[in-house]
Structure formats: structure tokens, C-alpha cells
Symmetry: C2
Subunit: 389 residues, 2 copies
Amino acid sequence: MPRSAPARAPITSPAAATVFTTVLTEGPVSRVDVARRTGLSSAAVTKAARPFIEAGYLEELASEGRTAPGAGRPANPLAIRPDREYFVGVKITGDDLIGVVTDLRADVRASAHHALTSHDVEHVVRALADLVGELLSGDLRERAYCLGVAVSGDVDRASGVVRYSPFLGWRDVPLASLLEDATGLTVTLENDVKALAVAEQWFGEGVGASSFALVTVGTGIGSALVVGGDLVRGAHGVAGEIGHVPVADGGPPCHCGGRGCVEAIASTEAILTHARAVSGEPALTMEDAVARARGGDEPLRGVFAGAGHAIGLGLAALVNLFGPERVVVSGEGVAAYDLFEEQIRRTFAVQAFGSAARCGLVIRPLPFEEWARGAAAVAIQSLFVAESV
Amino acid sequence: MPRSAPARAPITSPAAATVFTTVLTEGPVSRVDVARRTGLSSAAVTKAARPFIEAGYLEELASEGRTAPGAGRPANPLAIRPDREYFVGVKITGDDLIGVVTDLRADVRASAHHALTSHDVEHVVRALADLVGELLSGDLRERAYCLGVAVSGDVDRASGVVRYSPFLGWRDVPLASLLEDATGLTVTLENDVKALAVAEQWFGEGVGASSFALVTVGTGIGSALVVGGDLVRGAHGVAGEIGHVPVADGGPPCHCGGRGCVEAIASTEAILTHARAVSGEPALTMEDAVARARGGDEPLRGVFAGAGHAIGLGLAALVNLFGPERVVVSGEGVAAYDLFEEQIRRTFAVQAFGSAARCGLVIRPLPFEEWARGAAAVAIQSLFVAESV
DNA sequence: ATAAATTCTTGACGAAGTTAATTAAATCTC
DNA sequence: GAGATTTAATTAACTTCGTCAAGAATTTAT
């Protein structure tokens, strides 16, 4: 009987993790190249790569003709085999569960969602297990071992506990272990914005950046920061609360108890309230407000510009304090970027200090399933136990 | 001829660095205790500690009677021998050089300063070398190998270059190598606020904190952040610019080109300008303003409270984004804490989000030599090459 | 063809830290 | 007060990880 390939990724040493992540995030790379980028010796790369190739996680590409202009043996780049393992990611919102299955590169292979009719913990666990079962039909099931779950609020990834979730009304729910029992998968729990940041760090705009920030704009306004490869978690579990950075002294009161917070000016609700006041129509909908602003309604355009301004000020605060290499601003819900973007950039350019302004600023919509993909990215990251400590 | 003790600290491995820093920053500790705190095995601690003892950097304290209540062999705590090596720290301001000599614990043993009559690079290098010569009289000289230099502005510690210093009018000055030639010491260059943060991280309020922030208030307003043991440097060399966090939308213009920056409201100059306007006395001095505010002059008290409010807003921004375990607010120049502190705390309490507000907030004056001590702390830290990368 | 260049592999070696057993020095128990 | 118990420190064998140096593989250049 032939010895079967190892069931899971053989991440057995720091070098193994380094090599695997490098190939995973920086596409096909030759061994020498991995060595150069990571500081390892090329001998170490050869040794570390072998088990991954044997286990089916990496493969050696044939050297396609001339790779380099000069002489020398052509390189045989290492590449990921994305289908070697699948990952499930689920985002829990107040109203529904959004789930995806991705491959190793975090590319979505399947998706589904369930409405959530109750916030009862048992109900949610069952619904989530059902969703996972539905997602993992057929051949996906055999090669899926990890589930990532993203929830807004205060989440302790290490212990897998939802400490506090305002949307769900939960406190200290050991969701990870409940879900492990219900699904049989290894579960990693993470705050939703942090999960998005992980996806971006590993598979998006953050690849190769020493530090970067992700900002989400929508019902709430939040952010996550990555410094030196690690998510900033905050000593008391709170960090990245750009929504509650005070930017307008004496500005509108915020539900947090403060005044002039970014969220009190630029959240979906704040914008709508302001738009209704400005237009004098208490029943104005967001869709109408957006449509009219696009149509040239100056007062309404001013409302959106004001929100963009507040976001720009918050971004400036973030960038002046952290100096990230790149910032991604992304939005849930109504994607009214055209109404925001210009003002965000203008305000940011004025208030960013010195060369901190040189940071790359990407503003773009947030596709619906992206949150769930973030959860899957967290699951992928969980392979690297040593690094996620 | 007896083999002489090694001349310098034998930091040869990660474990050696870990053990030495633990004993250095956490006072006398038994070997088992070091092992427990660092996660090393006690065998590793024994091995790592021996060379330090032989080289005279650590000593074994006699177990003083009962250390623990129960049975068992009493511990022989390891302790630093602070006098084993001395460090020189110099802060360069626009007007003078402030220098100190400290021991391994960063306790000041000698201090001196020179007025600076020119900003010419050669002149400054010569004056600094003279100051160092003066400081290292007698027996201090033999055991001093490292010089730390703190300069405000954009400083590249790794290369030892002052990239830009507005106060000195310098651009791209390779100060570290110039000073190594002039003094014969190993020179480490650092931004002044970051140097203060290092002193605090290793020998002050930051000991044992996973993350903390240091904020300085005075002519300028700056800060430095430590996350996971490392200073946040910013991808483009800019970070910790709390002075240019915009807190008052549409507020007073700032020299940076923005509006409503903390520094535009709470710097010494901004306060004085405001105080003169409020009192109607264009020649009012800072000393008078402070005296009158202390005496109960309400309009002037309002000026200081306004500055405290702006600082509190900036602190809230910092803490909401970054969630440090502790924050130290310290001030150069006029120490008008009594006029600031209450308002800083009040505003901070209102604007800090959720449990981020639980971070320890220490507000205290900044003794004159503290800047130079920060520079010395950087020199001490430079012993640990591997860690300062 | 031969040389030079570049990639990759191999096996010996060395450094660092762990485990497990041992020694050391105290208190506790009877 | 002798022996048991407990905790601290040391020692020695061993494991693991990654480097080094030599060489094999595979190309271009002359």
C-alpha cells in the first residue's frame, strides 16, 4: 500500500512557515528568490519546500524558456496549488449569515447565505453548521478542515470567545468551541474588520507592505492596523476605532458619548439624518439622497462632502500617528464612492503631515462577499500557528 | 597572566538578550523566575547568565533569609551591576547640548551642557565631542563605549543619518559616523521623542507593558508609540505626529498647512498667542500668563483649559486607534500641569471609546535632563543589536 | 567544446535550547 | 534531629534548525 500524502500542510518550523507564506502571497517564485527575500539560505528553502511539494501544497513549475536574460541554469519557480485545501469563511451579521468556500489563495469557489431569524446562540450555531454543510457539498468537503468566522464587536481570537457583540446581543459566548463541536472543523474567530485586514494583508493591497491600514465605512466606521506583520489588537481589546476619533470639536453627539466623532458625521445613519434635515424631507431614503446628489443637488452633495471630509480627517489622524505604507478605504452598504472619494482625498492631502502623506491611499467598494472572504483568510492564516500567536 | 574579563556584554544569542533585558528591566530575579517570565527553560537561563556574571554585568545575590514562605532551596536572584558600563547620552537642541552619563540602569551619574553658538555641522560635532570628553572624566571613561544622540526631526536610526532637522537646518547629515570619528565611541542616533519613549519603555512607566505611548507637550507636540516591544517608525519615517492630528474642524491654521491640529491649539506658542489675544496684552509673557491663570484669571484659565481639551482629544484619537496599555504625557518647557491636567483627563474620559479608556494615563513634568537620559537609554538599547533591527 | 553563470541539492557541521537526571539547600514532619 | 519534601540550579545528552561549502544540473557565451 502506497504511503498516503500527509493530510495537512507540514508547517513544522519557522523556515517552513516563511517559505510557504512567501510562495503563497508572492506568487510563483524560484527558491533562490525566496531565499533572497526572506534572508534564509537557499539550502534551507530547498529543505523546507520539499515536504510541501510532497504534501501537494506546492508544485514546481517548469522553467518556461528563458527566465533571465543572462546565462545560468533556469529557475524552477515554486507555486501554490490552490486546490490542495479549501477553507470556509462565514460572516455573521445581525440579519444573516454569509458564507464562502475559498481555495488556498482565498479565491471564492462557492458561496451561500442564510437569513437569521433569531439571535439565540444555539440557533445561530445550528444555522451556521447548516450553512457550512451546504457549502461543503461534493469534493470540497474532503479537503476542508478550517472555518473562519467573522463577527463585529469585541472578539478574542486566541480563546475563540465573543466577548461582546452589540448586534447579536451576546456577551462572553465561546463560539469557536461550540462551532467546532457542531461542524467538526477547526474554528478561528475574529473581529470582522480585522478579518478583512488579514485578507488584504495576505491576498490584497497589503501584500509586501510593512504596515498598512484598512478602513471600512458604512453603518459603522472602523479600521484595523497591521504593523510589522501583526494586527494591532489593543491592550484592552480595543484598537482601530477610527469611527470614534474626534475630528470636529463641538460637533454632533455620537452614540459613544463623545462629540464630533467620525462616525457621528459619516456613518450611513448620520448622513441620512443630515440629508433629511438639509432637504426638509423626513422620509428621504438613502437611495434617493444618493441619486439626487449624483444629479447635482448641491445641498445634498454638501452632506456627502461633509462626510468625506470627516473621513479624510480621521484618515489623517491615523496616518499621522502610524505612518502606514498603504491605506485601503472600503465601504459596506451603499457604495456612494463617487460622492465621497474626492473630498476624502482633498482633506487627507491637506491634513496629512509631511511624508506621511506619501502613503498609498486606495478607495474602493467592498463587494458583498468580501466580509466572508475575510473570515476565510483568517482560517487560512490559522494554518500558521506559530505566527498567529 | 590571568585571563581578563571580556570587555563588553556577551550578548551572543536571543536567549542571552532575553535574560539580560529581563534582569535589567525587572530588577533582581531568580533564574527560575526569569525562565517562567520568558518561556525559556531554566537550563537555558543558567547557561545564558553565566557569561554575564563572568563579564561583570550580572551578579548573584545571596539569598536573604527566606524568600518564599514554603520549603525548598532558596533562590539566588540575579541582579544587574549597574556600574559595569557607562553610557553617554546627548540631546541636541537649537540652542545647546545637554549631556549625561548614566549607568546600565539609566541612572544619571554626571551631567553637563554647552551652549551652541552655531548650527554648522562641524562646529556641533566638535562641541559635542568636547562635551563628551568633559563628561567622561576619571574612571567613567574606561567603561563607556556607547554614545546615544537625540535630535528632533526626521532621523534614520539604522543608518545614523539626520534626514531633516528643522531646528538645526540640517538635511542628510551622517551624524553618527562623524561622531564616531570624533569620539571613538559607538554612536546611535535617534529622534528625541522616540529616545524618550525608549527610556520609558525600558526603565520607566513602560516596563512590562505590551504597548504604550509617550506624548510630549511643549514647543511642539509629539509622541512615540511602542507596539509589541518595537517603536512604530512609520513607512516613510513619520509616525507619532499627534501634534498634527486634526481635532477641531475649521480651527486655527497650523504651520503644517492644516487646520485645527493639536499643535495649533496647545503648543507653547499657540497658547501664548491665544493668551495675548484674550488678555488684550500683546506683550504678555508665558510666565505671567501662567501666574495669572493660577491666580484665578478666568479668561486665561480658559486658554489653558482649551489647550488641555485639544490634547485630550488628540489622546483620545491615539488611544482609540491604538489601544495602548499605558500613556505617559510629559512636557518640556513651562511645566503648567496644574492648568492642563484636569481638562486633559476630563476630555479624554469623554472621548475615549469603551475599554480603551482603561489605559493608564500618567501626566507628569519632564525634568530637564530627561531628554539626554533618553539618548543614553537608546545607547543602552544598542547593546542588543539583534533586537533593535 | 570549453568556460562561465546561475539554480538547486546534499551532507557535514554548529549553534541554541530542551529534556531529564543530578546536585544543592532550604523547610516540614514525626 | 533524621529523613522526607520542596524548590533552585546545574549538568550532560540530545534534538532541531539552519548555515556552509562542495558539487551537480542546466543553461548562455565564446
